[in-house]
């Protein structure tokens, strides 16, 4: 057993309000540079929608991630030793700038320097690449809030295996719904970008599992852009190097939460350590399709198990990291309560960013009062207007889960690797917590029903309180449990700290100029 620590994340989608504060925080710190204007290491997408870059989930286009061969092994879909080196002169699966969008700004000076004239002056958009005026055709969140539109929502790659009837039901005006999907790099256990890099520039940090691109070694072969199925590796067209989310490791090393998480208005983000068994990565990444998620959950170890603690210490995991893994909100969400799921586990990269799927507005539906459905509603249904009923009926426990506005299959395509039962289980858990809290606070649900709801999803009252607390009340230090980096301590052990002052964090400072 080779125990290692992994900094991992949970995003609670029910709480995401789609404000893009995370995106802006990240932008301002990391990608506000020439060549990086088009990169959004953190972005927020509207689902159903095509996302950024457009249709990134469709691996028939971009050939990202791993695929399982008939012999049960895995290989990179669009890169790897053979394909990568053969396609090195021209990578046929590389997204181009138009798949993201052409970065732009406006000629604001024209507003100020305009002479007095009859018409209002206009600030024309200009390309941040060529500096010439352009017609803006796309932006990083061009489908924001545009669920239901033919150009975006209906081209969502996750709709591919839904029946036309199911698709139609999602896009009826009265039933239309959407939710937000914030995305950063998943810092995968089996990263395809690392495996695809011909130069060996991309690596996973042993101590905390952050995946980074060594700018000194990157040669711009751009295979990582293709290989990352989440399209979270980006090519800087100015410096000729690839870049990606670095999980704000300079902040992590000093005990601060990453900028996107720190700034999150909805407090949807959680960060903490998980212990995992590095010996099992290949085996688990090669699991048959149906077992992928369950097997991935098995790779994360119980930090309270004395044997795991012993093995972790032998593998050089510091005590403080083990303690952090025990306090980790991620461990609770992912392993203890089994509430969070990885995004698109079928890409086989074993991502370490987990999502608590959204329950609302998925659960609620709108019915007309004189409908036959409407007459069956109990007194808990709320009148929305005179004629319409906003149905949150829970007379039959979980009765409405199967009648969600989004077909379960659609949600399962995103978070369950297609496994609908897994998806139903998570949604039922979320519903049970609501029923429990309703019983506790409002009191119009009997204890019997609440107990029944919790029992059905194998949660105890203690669990329910824990989930409730971590979801809605948890403070900063409970949402972000960051193990110490120990680099400073290691330096202190053997040399004068004054000698290395200023040399930790970013050791490499070079102007990002193109080679001659």
């Amino acid at each position: 057993m080779d125990v290692r620590a992994q900094i991992s994340m949970v995003f609670h989608l029910d709480k995401c309000l789609g404000c893009h504060t995370c995106t802006v925080a990240c932008k301002n710190i990391w990608t506000d540079r020439k060549g990086a204007e088009y990169m959004w290491w953190n972005n927020v997408e509207t689902k159903p929608g095509t996302g950024y870059p457009s249709k990134w989930e469709d691996q028939e286009i971009y050939k990202g991630g791993w695929e399982r061969t008939k012999s049960g092994k895995i290989k990179l879909k669009g890169a790897g030793k053979m394909k990568g080196l053969l396609n090195i002169f021209h990578n046929p699966n590389l997204p181009v700038i138009d798949d993201y969008y052409e970065p732009f700004t406006y000629k604001y000076l024209d507003l100020i320097e305009s002479p007095q004239q009859e018409m209002q002056p206009v600030a024309r958009p200009i390309s941040l690449i060529t500096g010439k005026p352009i017609d803006i055709k796309m932006g990083p969140n061009w489908d924001d809030d545009l669920s239901g539109t033919p150009d975006f929502a209906r081209k969502d790659p996750n709709l591919a295996n839904l029946t036309p009837a199911e698709q139609e039901s999602m896009f009826q005006l009265e039933k239309m719904a959407f939710y937000y999907l914030p995305r950063i790099c998943n810092h995968c256990l089996n990263p395809a970008c690392v495996a695809s890099c011909p130069s060996g520039a991309i690596y996973k940090r042993g101590e905390d599992g952050v995946v980074l691109i060594d700018q000194d070694v990157c040669r711009g072969w751009r295979m990582c852009i293709t290989a990352c199925p989440y399209k979270k590796a980006y090519y800087n067209w100015n410096s000729g190097k690839s870049e990606k989310c670095l999980l704000c490791y300079p902040r992590l090393e000093s005990g601060q939460a990453p900028a996107c998480m720190h700034s999150c208005v909805g407090r949807i983000r959680y960060l903490g350590a998980l212990l995992y068994d590095a010996d099992k990565i290949e085996e688990i990444a090669s699991s048959p399709e149906g077992d992928l998620i369950n097997n991935q959950m098995d790779i994360y170890l119980d930090p309270f198990d004395p044997e795991v603690i012993k093995a972790a210490a032998e593998s050089g995991v510091p005590d403080s990291t083990i303690k952090a893994a025990q306090d980790s909100p991620i461990y609770k969400f992912v392993k203890e309560w089994k509430l969070a799921l990885p995004l698109h586990a079928e890409f086989r990269t074993l991502p370490n960013l987990f999502y608590v799927p959204p329950l609302l507005p998925v659960m609620a539906s709108v019915t007309q009062e004189n409908d036959s459905d409407g007459s069956e509603l109990n007194e808990m249904s709320k009148h929305w207007t005179d004629k319409w009923l906003y149905d949150t009926s829970i007379d039959e426990i979980f009765g409405t889960i199967e009648q969600t506005r989004f077909p379960i299959k659609y949600m399962a395509n995103l978070f369950g690797a297609g496994d609908e039962a897994l998806m139903v289980d998570k949604l039922k858990k979320l519903m049970a917590i609501r029923i429990y809290r309703r019983y506790k606070t409002v009191g119009d649900i009997s204890q019997e029903k609440s107990d029944q709801a919790l029992a059905e999803v194998n949660l105890t009252e203690e669990d329910a309180e824990g989930i409730y607390y971590l979801t809605s009340l948890a403070k900063f230090d409970e949402r972000f449990v960051i193990p110490a980096a120990h680099r400073e301590q290691s330096i202190e052990m053997m040399e004068s700290t004054a000698d290395v002052k200023g040399s930790t964090g970013f050791g490499f400072i070079e102007k990002p100029v193109r080679g001659m």
Binding site: V96, T130, K204, Y235, I491
Partner: protein, 237 residues
């Protein structure tokens, strides 16, 4: 003049190539393929593939001839004709690719932004060099044969630090230009994007797919028995 071009220039060129490339490497950041595929991919496909295939085959031809001249000088008859035809074909392929690359570079707005003077200089030089090479191959028959018997001894004499330029001086002007062009291109490598061929990723073939880096050796760093002398600061710190 001949002494300067064929006796001194090669040493200047190789010295600048070696020292310049090492100097530019330093921490490695300045080495990149400087790919522009993100900005424009369609025109790049045929241009880049044609050029690279062409130049790799032609380079290998010259390279093999340099190391095993007997291989080429002993070839005769049909195989020589085939060898020549293959050479000319790949030479022309490279020219087509280069011209397409050049046109793409000067006509595409987005590519102009990532073009500097050296990109154009090296591209024009390569085009001229390839045209010269193809013309020589067609005009002065059985180049692969006389390259091995007449040119390789001169090149060998350079690397033996005893340049014998007599044979070189007797060559026609086209060949002289081709040789000088080659030295010029070698000289310019460290100043141009051509350096990326020096870091071609052959080590990828033998490398395991996943790469993990540790800041410290995790087994020893916390072991009190580890001698302080064995612990070194991580290179990336």
């Amino acid at each position: 003049m001949d002494m300067l071009l064929f006796g001194a220039l090669p040493y200047v060129a190789f010295a600048i190539f070696v020292i310049g490339s090492i100097y530019r490497y330093q921490n490695g950041f300045k080495y990149s393929s400087l790919s522009s595929q993100l900005l424009e991919t369609e025109k790049l496909f045929s241009a880049s593939v044609a050029f690279h295939m062409g130049i790799i085959v032609i380079f290998l031809g010259h390279f093999i001839g340099f190391f095993f001249p007997s291989l080429f000088s002993s070839i005769g008859g049909t195989s020589l004709v085939i060898l020549e035809i293959v050479g000319v074909m790949f030479g022309v392929l490279a020219i087509i690719g280069l011209v397409m690359l050049f046109i793409r570079r000067v006509t595409t707005d987005r590519i102009k932004v990532v073009t500097n003077r050296m990109d154009l200089v090296i591209e024009v030089l390569l085009i001229l060099q390839f045209i010269l090479g193809v013309v020589i191959a067609i005009e002065m028959k059985w180049g692969s044969s006389w390259y091995a018997s007449n040119m390789v001894p001169y090149l060998h004499s350079i690397f033996a630090f005893n340049p014998d330029i007599a044979g070189m001086v007797a060559m026609p002007i086209l060949v002289k230009l081709h040789v000088v062009g080659a030295f010029l291109i070698i000289l310019l490598i460290p100043f141009s994007r051509l350096v990326h061929f020096l870091v071609a990723p052959f080590h990828y073939i033998t490398r395991p797919y996943q790469v993990v880096r540790w800041n410290w050796n995790r087994k020893t760093i916390r072991d009190p028995k580890t001698s302080w002398d064995d612990i070194q600061r991580p290179k990336n710190n």
